[in-house]
């Protein structure tokens, strides 16, 4: 198949960016989207131009590095799929494809399609953990966790920290990302001791990083490649209010 690509180019965080158009031919439907960009880039290098920068690593949909807005949708048209797991069979011959970086104030552009997501690390540093020393743990089976609770905690813990939720949100909120961690740890008995401080500190950090607040558009859950649902945000808000009235 043949495609027309409109790709965001930006030299660095201070530079002004713009779209550059490329024609690409002989795209196989069995190619991944990123392999299609690899082919484009090898061609650009061969002709002496600078290739398009984009983040990627595992290419298995789990590391969370890839981060493209494709035709206006974070991670592109396929539901529950990261950019790296998107295959060209999802596109039509002759189609125009617009490729942009995450558009979030708290994620400044590094170059082209690469953004700086260190704000997410800082939010988790503000309390997204259980304070257990190495070596201080009791036997794993001393604390039974009902299977349904463990399963729900697991579902929240599958967040890959890609940032698609914030990129999809009209308010650039990181609420779904924060709520996923709050739910993961808040559901488990291990996470109870720090439950109150965790939700307050992580939300304060989210605000400090410049993310917006949840405005119930639910775009985040449509964009989430791991299908984490906005019920977590309700749970997080409940935890926040609860933290003002209960000690644990």
């Amino acid at each position: 198949m043949n495609l027309t690509l409109h790709v965001w180019r930006q030299a660095d965080s201070d530079a002004r960016g713009d779209f550059e158009t490329f024609k690409i031919s002989d795209v196989s439907p069995d190619m991944s989207f990123l392999e299609m960009l690899d082919v484009l880039n090898e061609g650009l290098i061969s002709e002496g131009s600078e290739p398009v920068a984009f983040d990627h690593d595992c290419r298995e949909g789990i590391c969370g590095a890839c981060s493209l807005v494709i035709n206006g949708v974070p991670h592109g048209p396929q539901k529950a799929t990261t950019t790296c797991q998107l295959y060209m069979r999802e596109f039509d011959d002759g189609q125009a494809v617009w490729i942009e970086p995450w558009r979030v104030g708290a994620f400044p552009v590094v170059r082209d399609l690469v953004v700086d997501r260190s704000a997410f690390d800082r939010i988790l540093q503000a309390g997204g953990y259980v304070s257990v020393r190495t070596g201080a743990a009791p036997d794993g089976n001393t604390l039974p966790v009902p299977k349904d609770v463990a399963d729900r905690a697991f579902t929240s813990a599958t967040c890959i920290g890609c940032g698609a939720c914030a990129a999809a949100c009209p308010s650039s909120s990181a609420s779904l990302f924060v709520a996923a961690k709050i739910s993961h740890l808040g559901l488990l008995p291990q996470g109870q001791v720090e439950r109150n401080s965790r939700v307050r500190m992580m939300l304060a950090q989210m605000d400090g990083e410049g993310f917006g607040h949840c405005s119930n558009h639910a775009e985040c859950q449509s964009a989430c490649p791991k299908e984490i649902d906005i019920g977590r945000i309700a749970r997080m808000n409940r935890d926040l209010y609860r933290s003002f009235v209960r000690r644990t």
């Binding site: 030299a11 660095d12 069995d30 991944s32 990123l34 690899d38 090898e42 650009l44 290098i45 061969s46 131009s49 600078e50 920068a53 983040d55 690593d57 595992c58 290419r59 298995e60 789990i62 590391c63 590095a65 529950a80 797991q85 998107l86 295959y87 069979r89 170059r111 690469v114 997501r117 260190s118 997410f120 690390d121 988790l124 540093q125 503000a126 997204g128 953990y129 259980v130 304070s131 257990v132 020393r133 190495t134 070596g135 201080a136 743990a137 009791p138 794993g140 089976n141 039974p144 966790v145 009902p146 299977k147 463990a150 905690a153 697991f154 813990a157 599958t158 920290g161 993961h184 291990q190």
Partner: protein
């Protein structure tokens, strides 16, 4: 044979060695720990857990990763699970049994003391992870669930659906974040180690490139811990993440760190076959799938395009069950891989033709779905089936999966002693980047175990033991060794940017190297093919340095430059892999020499002459390294023929 390497192993009864060794180790007074600085390179299971634990103990830690966040290290992609000798299933497991299985699985090419320690520590890892909130699978009782995993006849594998690596890594990352918040660990993401600083024989720091703005910086410390993963990407196509590389380990090797058993590279039997020449990586399907799926290929070569759902059973060859009735589809990885290669080489492969060959066999769940129902299978493997369908466009619920082996893990790596210290004083190596625990073949669900054992429970002690014997002191920023390391990095970047006759992007050379290694030093090896590879790699390396085309500059975000530097190191390591494979005149584990097989066609080990670790020293000439040997002593297990029939 002369064994000239001392592993500093404790002696005496195996089960007391680690306890005694810990008592013999020197300690650093808690009040003095903040005076010591430790560099940890890599943030996977080994690096994340080591940096977090060292920080928690009070050392001042700098943690480096080339990814944009520590959470993205490739440990995140491990699917199947983590072994631990808990015996929660009451099926006869014990530390001894896990030890024995790991030694045997490694085809008697690993150190007894190290492997026993690994099995001993395995139980603590599960406790630690549970306390961190890692959501392991549970029974309806609320207690931890287990499953059995390739090569084991007991259920000792703990798992979190098909995302165990992700959940364990997030546990380590959370522990790391806690230390960042506490101020003991400083993170340096998007920062790549490009050189080691060695002063008076001691590792004292690293030179890095900031991948965002290209700035070259030196970082000095009282010791350096490398947790930089494996080198499977030497083959170009592998299940590793695109960024996985050998550069940190290889820079250390060039400074004198011995590289052990580089030819021991593991092929994983259950990966999605290649679909075309543009392929950038291969995707692994967890081998837990072999618990319920049956592996087969058409019995007749003319059935390669027949509908697998309707092909009668008497025209299928369930070749693993036929050849290995005791273990069937659960034989270890190397055996399953070679069997699949053999049936495809004989023309029984299925799937699309790539370069004139069909490289794929079926992994069929139809009977499991019939017996247990689709819901049970979905619960066990749902995310893997979805991943397979996204990539191939086919649903494993209705059509058998197609699988083929791919490079997955490197058992070889930097040589380390019992303290996980390399042959450079003060340079430690943990996790996949060292060679220590898996011998010639790693068992399933043992990589996560080793990474976390090293990081949480071994290196924190052995680093302390090392530091206690050295005064904390800082290296002046303008020390000659620092300056020369920085200059070496700058010169190399200039060379990569200014090849005399730039023709091809770096990947062009990487694909060529990968094809040579896969064909000549892959699933099977023989002296003729290895000599051919050794004749072809040096000219390819010269061509690379002459013709590599890297656009852009060194002072900006430049992914082409990053890749070119990593490929340059693979060009040297690839040659060492072939040298090692040619030198080891036996078959063992993953190292299958077709000139060393039994009459039945199975691998034939040569314990009399090759029961050693081959540790290679850089001589200044990549093509003629010096061999050092560490003789392996088996005091507690008797090396037997590894039979899974």
């Amino acid at each position: 044979m002369i064994s000239d390497l001392n592993a500093n192993e404790p002696t005496g009864p195996l089960e007391n060695r680690w306890t005694r060794h810990r008592f013999d180790m020197a300690l650093v007074n808690p009040a003095n720990r903040k005076k010591y600085r430790v560099i940890v390179v890599g943030t996977g299971l080994a690096g994340g857990s080591a940096a977090a634990t060292l920080g928690e103990m009070g050392y001042r830690v700098k943690s480096f990763c080339f990814q944009d966040s520590p959470r993205r290290a490739h440990s995140i992609a491990a699917q199947g699970g983590i072994n631990a000798a808990k015996n929660y299933q009451n099926d006869g497991d014990s530390i001894w049994r896990l030890f024995y299985d790991t030694i045997k699985g490694g085809d008697f090419r690993s150190r007894e003391s190290n492997v026993y320690r690994l099995a001993e520590i395995s139980v603590n890892i599960i406790d630690q992870a549970v306390a961190q909130g890692v959501p392991f699978a549970r029974e309806y009782s609320g207690l931890l669930a287990n499953r059995s995993f390739g090569g084991a006849q007991v259920s000792r594998t703990f798992y979190a659906r098909g995302q165990t690596g992700q959940q364990l890594l997030l546990g380590a990352y959370q522990a790391l974040n806690r230390q960042v918040a506490a101020g003991t660990v400083t993170l340096h993401p998007r920062t790549e180690m490009l050189e080691l600083i060695v002063i008076d024989g001691r590792a004292r720091g690293i030179v890095t490139r900031n991948l965002v703005d290209g700035s070259i910086e030196s970082h000095t410390a009282d010791c350096v811990v490398l947790c930089t993963g494996g080198y499977g990407n030497a083959y170009y196509l592998s299940t590793n993440a695109k960024g996985c590389n050998t550069s940190a380990a290889w820079r250390a090797h060039r400074h004198g760190a011995l590289f052990a058993n580089p030819c021991f590279t593991q092929i994983h039997p259950t990966c999605i076959p290649q679909s075309g020449t543009y392929q950038s990586k291969l995707t692994l399907m967890s081998e837990s799938l072999r618990n319920d799926g049956r592996v087969w290929a058409p019995l007749h070569t003319d059935d390669s395009e027949a509908d697998p759902a309707t092909l009668p059973h008497d025209r299928r060859d369930y070749f693993l069950e036929r050849r290995y009735p005791a273990f069937g589809n659960l034989v270890p990885r190397d055996i399953a891989s070679r069997a699949a290669k053999e049936v495809c080489d004989q023309g029984h492969g299925v799937g699309p033709e790539v370069n004139g060959r069909r490289l794929g066999v079926y992994l069929d769940f139809s009977e499991a779905i019939e017996q247990m129902g689709e819901a049970r299978i979905r619960e066990r493997y749902g995310n893997l089936f979805e991943m397979y369908e996204r990539i191939t466009g086919e649903s494993p619920y209705t059509t058998p999966m197609r699988i083929y082996p791919a490079i997955h893990y490197a058992m070889g790596g930097l040589w380390v002693d019992y303290n996980l210290m390399t042959s450079i004083d003060g340079l430690f190596a943990t996790g996949e980047c060292n060679f220590s625990d898996h011998g010639a073949n790693r068992l399933g669900a043992s990589a996560l175990m080793q990474g976390l054992a090293d990081g949480y429970f071994v290196v924190p002690y052995s680093v302390g033991n090392y530091l206690a014997r050295h005064e904390p002191n800082s290296v002046p920023g303008d020390h000659a060794a620092v300056n020369s390391a920085v200059t070496a990095v700058r010169d190399r970047i200039e060379r990569l940017l200014n090849a005399p006759d730039p023709q091809h992007p770096p990947e062009y050379f990487h694909r060529k190297l990968g094809q040579i290694l896969w064909d000549n030093c892959g699933m099977t090896r023989d002296p003729v093919a290895l000599r051919e590879a050794l004749a072809r790699i040096p000219p390819l390396r010269e061509q690379f340095w002459r013709e590599v085309k890297v656009t852009g500059s060194g002072e900006t975000f430049n992914q082409t430059l990053e890749r070119a530097g990593r490929i340059a190191d693979f060009m040297e390591l690839g040659e060492l892999m072939c040298i090692d494979a040619l030198d080891r005149n036996e078959s063992c584990g993953s190292h299958a020499r077709t000139d060393h097989v039994t009459d039945e066609g199975e691998a034939r080990r040569d314990d009399e002459n090759y029961s050693y670790v081959a540790a290679w020293e850089f001589s200044g000439d990549t093509s003629s390294p010096n061999l050092h040997r560490e003789q392996l002593r088996f005091e507690f297990v008797h090396p037997s023929v590894r039979s899974y029939k």
